[in-house]
Symmetry: C2
Subunit: 123 residues, 2 copies
């Protein structure tokens, strides 16, 4: 999710992007956040905790991403005492980098018209 | 709504933007489409018909936009035989133009990373 603004901002701009493969969301704000946390923590379990999401839900999102892309984005083994470890694959890192480029290009390109629209809102 | 793709595309990218004022959506995909139709037709009634939306709903969206911005975007009189006429104000045309600029800048800036991500999806 790019340019998300938090309450209690009176005026804000929100955007979101989703990549679909058929009916499935291959990549969206939640899945990208999950990838970032997996990259940082090396663990689906810890990533899900940070997001306030159940381990099962996080695992489901990972499975969907891995199924939608030509190669898996996350390499992980389910279960075990510590629910196994998890890493982004090289391919997963590529996709995450592309998404981050998408976000930063988006922010740079839209900053001016967005601020001009926000300036026209009542306070 | 920028870059919205239609079924039955197997792979697609969808995005949307919303401008909030407090809890209200001052501008989003539906409201912008409504503004475009009002601009083209000079009528909220005809604009709502084109969108498959009730007249009351369209009127509600117009009221919300007019309330959120410093000046009204649409000048209209409700009711009467032909539900009155409606026009974008000069201020409304400015805001619509800014939104269109936002969309086109967005599309130009994101085309490359989007196509690179889509190319990594399974067929």
């Amino acid at each position: 999710m790019a340019a998300k603004c938090k309450r209690p901002a009176r005026k804000c701009f929100k955007s979101n992007f989703r990549i679909y493969r058929g009916d499935e969301i291959a990549l969206g704000p939640g899945k990208v956040e999950l990838l970032r946390h997996i990259f940082e923590t090396g663990s689906i379990s810890e990533a899900s905790r940070r997001m306030g999401m159940s381990y099962n839900r996080a695992w489901l999102l990972v499975r969907t991403m891995n199924r939608c892309f030509k190669e898996p984005l996350v390499s992980a083994s389910r279960g075990g005492d510590r629910h196994g470890g998890a890493q982004l694959t090289g391919f997963g890192k590529q996709v995450l980098t592309l998404y981050q480029r998408l976000e930063s290009k988006f922010l740079a390109a839209t900053r001016q018209p967005v601020s001009q629209i926000l300036a026209r809102l009542r306070n």
